[in-house]
Structures are given as structure tokens and as C-alpha cells.
Amino acid sequence: MPHSEMAAGDSQSRSFAARLKSEWLLGDRSRLARLVIVALILATAAMFAASIMTGAADASLGNVLRWLFGVEGAEQALSVRDRIIILDIRLPRAVMGLLVGASLAVSGAIMQGLFRNPLADPALVGISSGASLGAVLTIVLGSSLLGALFAVFGFYALPVAAFLGCLVTTLLLYRIATRSGQTSVATMLLAGIALAALANAVTGVLIFVADDKQLRDLTFWGLGSLAGANWTKIFSAAPIILVSLAVVPFLARGLNALTLGEAAAFHMGIPVQRLKNIAIVSVAALTGASVAVSGGIGFVGIVVPHVLRLIIGPDHRYLLPASALLGGTLLIFADMVARTIVPPAELPIGIITAFVGAPFFLWILLRGRSHMGL
């Protein structure tokens, strides 16, 4: 490369960085946020591809892509066994990781906006337990008392039940923790513990009365992993997740205003009650659907939005899409680690997210105590 050209490219990149920095100093993080979102889109695509290639059976990216896109002759490059592994095992796992990770991170971000507190998380405040209860109810009572649920919803019954369990818990929690527009963090966390304990107790009773076949179903369902990913599960949960994710961008401006308080949000022209209703239903749908297909996976909903807020700020117009991307990427990555770290066995993915997430949560707590009304 000629010397002058190199210098020009160099100064151009420096001026872009300089512009970002001067905007940062002026409190404007919108360009940085858009840049981060583009980077996350690329990272998600890369992680998705890596996840399809990684594992006990080797498959080169080129061959896989050529085959998936139907390039002539590519089929011969892969053995039948490899093709089955990719199409029926790795691909659904990656898709599910993406959907579940995005759901958990986005529902965490929405809850934190709704409760006006960075410590709200579906798994921490008992909402996931509500979803589990809904799911366990359908597994155990689906053939008897709740047969109608299956009759109406078919294979959507499990995510729908988890969604309903989730919705009831979220509504209860919001009623308990929020009084005249102010959310008490202490009440929220403590009420979350109580609600989770209650939901777990009922779940325990159901497991106690379950028969052998139901126990088997429960065990497979409750592993809290993507190991059971298959296309049937994806098709049952994906519509709920995708519809909810499509609604979420419309909440961004309202959630921004809500950080100043319910009264201030109303002053700024936000229909607060409607915003809260839509936010609660979205959280319930996203958490419910992901718990229904993968069990409870903790800490994604709290770690992802928090890391992003440190970089691009709390503006929900950027935070929500970035959370979806980073959540999906992280869960695909965690799943890759889970299934390759102790081959041929698999670690439940919940262990990995907890190992990363729990210390992180404590760090947030210690660092931000003064800002969170604790």
C-alpha cells in the first residue's frame, strides 16, 4: 500500500474515533450505540456459525454453508451422519440458544425499566418459578384435569401454560412491590423470594404426585439446558417469542420516560397504564416461552442489560435490540462451552450462566448500592 494512502486511512479512522469520543464527552452515545449494535449483529452471526461447526464431529463452515444453501455437489462433501448432526442437533440448538438468550435478556431489560431498578430479573424475582409451575402443571395434569389445554392449544400448551404462570406471578409481584407509582426494591426482591418459594412448593407437590412417565418428562424438561432442543420445541415457542420481540421496540420511548417515575412519564405524554400492561405481558410471554423450552436459565437477564448500559447507556431504543443480540450470542456461547468442556458429557448450561452471573450480580450490588435505593 502506498504510504500516503495508509496515512489517509489512518487519519480517517482516528477522526471517527475522535468524533465518537467528543460525542461521548457531550453525553451523546447514540452513534456509539448504533456501532455496538452493528458489531453485535456480526458477532451473533459468527457465534452462530461457530456453534454449528463446533463439536465432536468435524464440519467445515464452507461445506456446511454450501450444503445449507443448496449449492450443487456440496452434499457429497458431508457424510450422512454429519448432515443429521448439523440439521437435527446443532442447528436447532443454535436457533434455540439465540431465541432463548434474546428472550431472557430482553425480558430482563424490560423488567428493569418497568421496576425502575437494575436488579430486577425474571429468574431472581420468582417470575421464572411461576413459569415453571405453569409448565409442570401441564406436564403432570395435562392428561387429566388440564386436558382441555392440550385440546385447545395442541403442542403450544406448554409455552402457553408457562406464559400464564409467568403473567400471574408478574402481576402479583408488581401489585405487591409498587405503591402509587413507586417501586420498593426491597419489597420487590423479598416478595419475589416468597412468590418463588410458593411456586416451587406447588411444583414440589406436583412432582410428588407425578407418575413415572411424567417424572421422566419433567426431568428432561427441567434440566435447564438447550440439550433437548429440537424443531418441534422451536416451532412451539418461536411464534410467541418473535411476536413479543416485534412489540418490544414500541416500548422503548415509554420505558425511557418511566425511568424518571410514573408521574413524570405521564407528564411527558406516555399512557403509563397501557405501557405497563404491554410491558408485563411481553415479559411474561418472553420468559414463559423460553422457560417452557429450556427450563430456567438464570442471570442472562441481569448481566446482559447491565454490561450494555455501561457501554451504550440506558436508552431503551438501543438497549433493547442490543440486549437481544448479546443475549443470543452469550447463550449460544455458553451452550458451546457446556457441551464441549467435559466431552462426551454435558454440563447443564444453567451452571455456566450462574458461575459467570452470580459474582457479577454481587459486583453490581456492591458497586451501585447508593444509586439503587438499597
Binding site: G27, P118, A257, L260, G261, H267, M268, G269, G313, H371
Partner: protein
């Protein structure tokens, strides 16, 4: 013109306002004063539309109960007493939230308004600071800049817009008290209207066109500060015999706590 007629409010089973009438004209700074717990802030909240109330509140002839939140947001902006935020927003991001209401201005336009609003509250150079790291008085001024952005033009489509301020100078130093009161006067001079809940009687007398004196959920006196700030009203409302004086140069009344008898 804001006209609140026969406002009654019950909070937690207790009657807080008893048939209050408050009028605030465009071009005027209307101050609501009175002792603690006299219903000043409750009146302002009812006028803002954030509390359930009996009676009617009209802005420019529209009953606010019939307006949608976004329509109301274009006619009035509100400065609450204090705002705690648990997310790391920068000052610029908070101020720009005020500009997200109504018609979308261009990026350059919003930038300019946000900058001018920060200048108006004497916070130029604070755009990049984190809201949570500011002092109480600075946070209050950021919120005022945000409210100003919401109704940047004091007259919109031929209708005056109103600023509702709940103790706008309560945590400010004396220089910024004057800055903010002048800003409010300037908003009135340009055709808008201001209703401010105030504690400092002397500052109010200096800047207000109308003074509404409340006690125990009722309006006890209303009119020009000269008419309202009298020895008789002071004693009746505050239960404290004090002598009201006037500045030598003009007719601005003032009252010193030193004159309290017993």
C-alpha cells in the same frame, strides 16, 4: 389560561383539597404559597392531571380529562420536586427526553434546543455529566431544562403553553434562585404561563403577578402580592404575627422572620 374549578381531592381517605379554585393566565407568573400541608403540591398535581380529583381543570378551554396524555404533554410541562433515577443517564440524554414529545424535530434542531435549555438553567458544559453524580440543585435544574424542552415554544399553534413548577428553587443557591425565577418570567413574557408552588414569600413577591395563598386545603387569599401579603393574611394563614414591609424603591412587599412577635 388554566382554570381549575371546585377542585376536591382525597388522598388515603383524607380530604386534602376542599373546592379549590385556581386561575392562571398566559403571560403571568402565578404562585401558590402557604404553610406545609396546605395543599399546594396537591393542587398542582391535580392541575397536571396526575391525581384523581372532583371538579374540572381546563387548559385553554379544553377539559384535561378529555385530552390524551400526549395532547396534554404539548400544552403543559411539569417540574416535580425531586427525581431519583437508578440508571446512568447523561444530562444530555435526560434533557432530550423532553424533546421526544410531539412532532419530531431534526437532529440538529433537537441538539440546539437541548443546548439552549441547558444554557437557560446555567448548566452549559454539563451535557456529558452523569445525572446521578450531580448535586440536588443541579439535578433540579436538569429536570427544569427537560421540562422546558417539552414546551420550548411558549405559544404553540396560537395557544399558550404552561410550565407547572413544584418548588423550583427549593434546593438552589441564591444566584440560581434568581436565574430560575427570571427564566420563568421570561417564559411568561414570551406568551406562556407559569404556575409555581413556592415557599420563599419574598422571592415570590418579587416575581409573581398573582399570589394564591392556601391554608388547610382551601384558598385563603388570591391577587397581586401587594394585596395578599398583608399583616392580617400572614397571621391568619401562618399563625404568626409578622410585620409586612415594602422595599423603599417600589412596592414589592417583604416580610422578615425577625418581625415575628412571640
Amino acid at each position: 389560561m388554566i382554570k381549575a374549578s371546585n377542585l376536591s381531592v382525597r388522598l388515603a381517605g383524607k380530604q386534602v383539597l376542599h373546592g379549590v379554585n385556581i386561575e392562571a393566565a398566559a403571560g403571568q407568573l402565578t404562585a401558590i404559597v402557604g404553610p406545609n400541608g396546605s395543599g399546594k403540591t396537591t393542587s398542582l398535581k391535580a392541575i397536571a392531571g396526575e391525581l384523581p380529583y372532583d371538579g374540572t381543570v381546563n387548559i385553554n378551554g379544553h377539559d384535561i380529562a378529555t385530552l390524551k396524555p400526549w395532547q396534554l404533554a404539548l400544552k403543559r410541562a411539569v417540574l416535580p420536586q425531586s427525581t431519583v433515577i437508578s440508571f446512568p443517564f447523561t444530562v444530555r440524554e435526560i434533557v432530550r427526553m423532553g424533546l421526544s414529545v410531539g412532532a419530531k424535530a431534526g437532529a440538529d434542531e433537537t441538539d440546539r434546543i437541548a443546548r439552549e435549555a441547558l444554557e437557560a438553567v446555567d448548566l452549559s458544559g454539563f451535557a456529558g455529566r452523569f445525572y446521578q453524580e450531580l448535586s440536588g440543585g443541579e439535578q433540579q435544574r436538569v429536570q427544569l431544562a427537560r421540562a422546558l424542552c417539552q414546551i420550548w415554544d411558549p405559544v404553540q399553534d396560537g395557544e399558550p403553553a404552561f410550565l407547572l413548577l413544584d418548588e423550583p428553587v427549593s434546593s438552589l443557591d441564591i444566584r440560581h434562585q434568581l436565574t430560575i425565577m427570571r427564566l420563568a418570567r421570561n417564559f411568561c413574557a414570551r406568551g406562556g404561563g407559569v404556575i409555581a408552588v413556592m415557599h420563599d414569600l419574598n422571592l415570590t413577591a418579587m416575581f409573581a403577578d398573582r399570589m394564591i395563598m392556601m391554608k388547610s386545603g382551601r384558598v385563603r387569599a388570591a391577587g397581586h402580592p401587594n394585596e395578599v401579603m398583608t399583616d392580617g393574611v400572614m397571621e391568619a394563614v401562618f399563625g404568626c404575627a409578622m410585620r409586612v414591609n415594602a422595599t423603599p424603591a417600589g412596592s414589592v412587599p417583604f416580610v422578615l422572620p425577625h418581625t415575628a412577635l412571640g
